[in-house]
C-alpha cells in the first residue's frame, strides 16, 4: 500500500502531484504519438515536455518542506521546521503551503532592470547589424547587472541582520525564563 502511494505520489503535496501528472501525461501521449505517427519532431517535443515536467516534479518532491507533508500524511513526526500555522486556527497552513516562502524586503526603486533590458536588446541587435550595437549595449547591461546584484546583496544583509537580532532576543528571553 505504502509502495503504491509512493509510486503514485499520493503523499506529495497537490503542487507536486500537479507536475507528476503533467509529466506522466506528456510521456504517455508522446509514446502514443510516436507509435501512431513515427514522426520524430513532434515525438521529441512531447517527450521533452514530459522530461522537463518530470525534473520539476522530482525537484519539488525533494524540497525539505514538501517532505514535511509526506511525513505528516504517514503520521510521522516532521523532521524539519514547519511553516507558520494559520493564525485563525481554521486551516492547516503548513500542509496547504508546503514550500518555503522566500522572505525578503521590498526592493528599492531601481533602473537596473531597465538598463539590463536595454543592454540585452542592443546586444541582440548585433546579430543583424554587427558588433556596434553590442558594444553600446554592454555598458547599460554591465551597470544594470552590477547595480542589481549589489542592491540585492545589501537587502539580504539587512534581512540577515534582522534575523540575527531576533534570534539573539529569543535566546535572551529563554535564558531569563
Amino acid at each position: 500500500m505504502s509502495l503504491i502511494r509512493r509510486v503514485l505520489a499520493l503523499d506529495d503535496p497537490q503542487e507536486t502531484r500537479f507536475w507528476w501528472f503533467l509529466s506522466a501525461f506528456a510521456f504517455g501521449i508522446g509514446l502514443l504519438y510516436w507509435f501512431v505517427s513515427r514522426e520524430p519532431a513532434g515525438s521529441v517535443l512531447l517527450l521533452a515536455f514530459g522530461l522537463a515536467t518530470g525534473v520539476m516534479a522530482i525537484v519539488l518532491s525533494l524540497q525539505p518542506v514538501s517532505r514535511v507533508v509526506r511525513e505528516r500524511a504517514r503520521g510521522d513526526r516532521p523532521g524539519v521546521r514547519s511553516a507558520t500555522r494559520d493564525a485563525s486556527g481554521g486551516g492547516t497552513a503548513d500542509v496547504e503551503r508546503p514550500f518555503l516562502d522566500e522572505e525578503g524586503r521590498f526592493p528599492a526603486p531601481t533602473t537596473a532592470p531597465l538598463a539590463v533590458g536595454a543592454g540585452v536588446a542592443l546586444m541582440a541587435l548585433a546579430t543583424i547589424f554587427g558588433p556596434a550595437p553590442a558594444i553600446v549595449g554592454v555598458l547599460p547591461f554591465a551597470w544594470g547587472v552590477s547595480t542589481w546584484l549589489s542592491s540585492a546583496r545589501a537587502e539580504l544583509d539587512v534581512v540577515e541582520d534582522i534575523e540575527r537580532i531576533e534570534a539573539a532576543r529569543v535566546a535572551r528571553s529563554r535564558g531569563r525564563r
Binding site: 497537490q14 507558520t84 494559520d86 521590498f106 533602473t111 541582440a124
Partner: protein
C-alpha cells in the same frame, strides 16, 4: 477604511522617474496594460486599413507587398504584442493581490520582463523604418517564404530578434508567476482555495514555460539560416520547412490557450459577482483548466492537416476532445447565472457578449478540426473568422469585462456606465457584422491574405458588410478611450469593494497601498472576502 465608505481622495502626482524605476507589481501591471493597449490601437488601425482595402475590388490604398506587410504586422502585434502581454498585465496586477501577498517573488525580474517585452515590441515595430520596410511573411513566418532569398527586408530580421526578446520576457514572467503562486499564498489558501483567475494564470505560466522555448529555438534557427548560412528550413539545401511548422505550432497552439485561459478566469471572477452566486463547480472549472492546458500540447498539428506530413486522425481526435473541457467552462458560467440575481452592469454585459461570440469560435473550431472540411476551408476567410471569434471574442470581450470590473480597484475611479454600454453595443453589433460575413466568404472560396479580388467573384457585398462592422469596432474603442479619459480626470472616489467582490483584491484599498494589505481575512474558501462580509455584516475591515 471601512468597507462601505466613499471618500474623495486627492489624485497621486504622476512621476515618470517613479514609473521607470518601479518594481511594484501593480505599477508593472499598469505599464504592461498601457503598452499592450497602445500596440492594440496600432494593430487595430492596420486592421481598419486592410478592411478599407478589401471594401471594393481593385487596389485602393496599397499594393500586394504593402498588404503582405500589413497582415504580417497586424497578426504579430495582436497575437504577441497585445493578447499575450495583456494577460500578463492583469496577472501582474491581480495575482499577488488575489493570493494575499505584498508583491511577486522576484520583483526586479518582473520589471526586467516588462522592459524586455517593450524593447522586443519596439524592435519588431522598427521594421517600419528599416530598409525594405516591415516583414511580409505572415505572423506565422513560414519558411521558405521567410528565408533570405524570398524575404530580403531587414524588417524580417528585426521581427525575429524582437519576438525572441518578447518570448524571453514571457518565460521570465511565467517563472515569476509560478513561483509566486506556489510560495506566496496567504495562510489557509490551499490550492483548491486559489481564486479561479489565479488558477488560470498558473496553468498559463506553465504553458509558457514549455511552449515558448520551442518558438525561441525556431526563431534562432531561422536567424541562423538568414544571417549565418545555416539551412535548417531550406529544402533546396537539405533542410526541412515542415520542421518550422512543428516548432511554431508546438508553441502556437498552446499560445492560443496562453492567450485565452486568463480571460476565462476573468469571466469566472466577474459572472459570480454579478449573478450574486458562487461560481458553479469551482473544482470542475479548475480541473477543466488544467486539462485544457495540458491537452493543448497535443493538438498543434491540426494547423498542418494539409501538409500531408502529420497523422491527421490523431490530431483530429485530440482536437475534438479538447472541446469537452472548454464546454465544461461554458456550463460553469451558465449554471452560475442560472437563478442568480443578475445585475446587468457593464462588466457583466461584456461577459454575456463573450459567451455568445466565443461560442461561434468554438463551434467553428470543431468544423476545422475535421480534416475533410479543413481541406476545403484551409487558408480561406473561414479560418480568419474562426480565429478572430476565438481570439478577439476570447480576449477583447473578456479584457473589457475585466477593465470595467477592476478599473475602480486600479485607479479608485469608475468608468462611465452609459459610455460603457455604448462601447459594448458597438462591439456586440460590430463584431458579428465584421466576422459572420467572413465565414460565408471562406465557404465560397475567398482565400485569406489576398489584397484584391475580382468584381465578378460575388464577394463585394460581404466584404463591405465586414468593413462596416470593423468601423463600428473602431468607434467602440474610441468611446472606451473617452470613458477612460473622463474617469481619470475625476479624483478617486470609489470604495474598496464597489461590486461586492469575492477574492482578496477587494479586501485591499482602492487603489491598493504599496504593500497591498494591512490585514488578511481568514481564508476558508475560494471566496474569503465574501465570507468575511457575510460573517461581519456592516463591520469594517481592520
Amino acid at each position: 477604511m471601512s468597507a462601505g465608505a466613499i471618500a474623495v481622495r486627492p489624485a497621486a502626482r504622476f512621476s515618470p522617474a517613479e514609473w521607470v524605476s518601479t518594481t511594484d507589481h501593480k505599477r508593472i501591471g499598469i505599464l504592461y496594460l498601457v503598452s499592450a493597449f497602445a500596440f492594440f490601437l496600432l494593430g487595430g488601425l492596420i486592421a481598419l486599413a486592410m478592411r478599407a482595402e478589401l471594401a471594393a475590388p481593385g487596389l485602393q490604398l496599397t499594393d500586394e507587398q504593402g498588404y503582405n506587410q500589413m497582415f504580417t504586422m497586424h497578426g504579430t502585434i495582436m497575437m504577441l504584442l497585445f493578447a499575450t502581454p495583456t494577460s500578463a498585465a492583469l496577472a501582474n496586477y491581480l495575482v499577488p493581490l488575489q493570493v494575499g501577498t505584498a508583491d511577486m517573488v522576484f520583483p526586479r525580474l518582473n520589471a526586467l520582463s516588462f522592459w524586455l517585452f517593450l524593447f522586443g515590441g519596439l524592435i519588431v515595430l522598427s521594421g517600419y523604418v528599416a530598409a525594405g520596410g516591415p516583414p511580409d511573411i505572415g505572423w506565422t513566418g513560414y519558411p521558405p517564404n521567410s528565408e533570405l532569398p524570398y524575404s530580403a527586408t531587414t524588417g524580417t530580421d528585426l521581427w525575429i530578434v524582437g519576438l525572441a526578446l518578447t518570448g524571453v520576457a514571457s518565460i521570465l514572467g511565467g517563472i515569476n508567476f509560478t513561483a509566486t503562486i506556489y510560495t506566496r499564498r496567504a495562510p489557509g489558501m490551499s490550492m483548491l482555495r486559489v481564486p479561479v483567475f489565479t488558477w488560470t494564470v498558473l496553468v498559463t505560466s506553465i504553458l509558457i514555460l514549455f511552449s515558448f522555448p520551442a518558438l525561441t529555438a525556431a526563431l534562432a534557427m531561422l536567424l541562423l539560416d538568414r544571417r549565418f548560412g545555416a539551412t535548417f528550413f531550406l529544402p533546396a539545401a537539405g533542410g526541412d520547412a515542415i520542421l518550422w511548422q512543428h516548432l511554431f505550432w508546438f508553441f502556437g497552439h498552446p499560445e492560443v490557450y496562453i492567450v485565452i485561459l486568463p480571460f476565462f478566469g476573468i469571466l469566472s471572477e466577474v459572472i459570480p459577482v454579478f449573478s450574486r452566486k458562487p461560481l458553479f463547480g469551482y473544482r470542475a472549472f479548475v480541473f477543466a483548466t488544467i486539462v485544457i492546458g495540458v491537452y493543448s500540447f497535443t493538438v498543434w498539428a491540426h494547423h498542418m492537416f494539409t501538409t500531408g506530413a502529420v497523422a491527421n486522425p490523431f490530431f483530429s481526435i485530440t482536437t475534438f476532445i479538447i472541446a469537452v473541457p472548454t464546454g465544461i467552462k461554458f456550463f460553469n458560467w451558465i449554471a452560475t447565472m442560472w437563478r442568480g440575481r443578475i445585475r446587468l452592469a457593464t462588466p457583466m454585459l461584456w461577459c454575456l457578449g463573450f459567451i455568445y461570440i466565443f461560442l461561434f469560435g468554438g463551434i467553428t473550431g470543431i468544423v476545422l478540426g475535421s480534416p475533410p472540411l479543413d481541406y476545403h476551408l484551409h487558408d480561406t476567410y473561414f479560418v480568419v473568422a474562426h480565429m478572430h471569434n476565438v481570439l478577439v471574442g476570447g480576449t477583447v470581450f473578456a479584457l473589457f469585462a475585466g477593465l470595467y470590473f477592476w478599473f475602480p480597484k486600479m485607479t479608485g475611479r469608475r468608468l462611465s456606465e452609459p459610455l460603457g454600454r455604448i462601447h459594448w453595443a458597438a462591439w456586440v453589433v460590430g463584431f458579428p457584422l465584421t466576422f459572420l460575413p467572413q465565414y460565408q466568404l471562406g465557404a465560397i472560396g475567398m482565400p485569406r491574405r489576398y489584397a484584391d479580388y475580382s468584381a465578378d467573384a460575388g464577394w463585394t457585398l460581404l466584404n463591405q458588410l465586414s468593413t462596416a462592422g470593423s468601423l463600428l469596432l473602431g468607434v467602440g474603442v474610441l468611446v472606451f478611450l473617452v470613458a477612460v479619459g473622463l474617469a481619470l480626470r475625476r479624483p478617486p472616489d470609489q470604495p474598496d469593494d464597489p461590486w461586492g467582490g469575492n477574492s482578496l483584491e477587494w479586501w485591499a484599498a482602492s487603489p491598493p497601498e504599496h504593500h497591498n494589505f494591512r490585514t488578511i481575512p481568514p481564508i476558508r474558501s475560494e471566496r474569503p472576502v465574501f465570507d468575511a462580509r457575510e460573517r461581519l455584516p456592516g463591520e469594517g475591515r481592520a
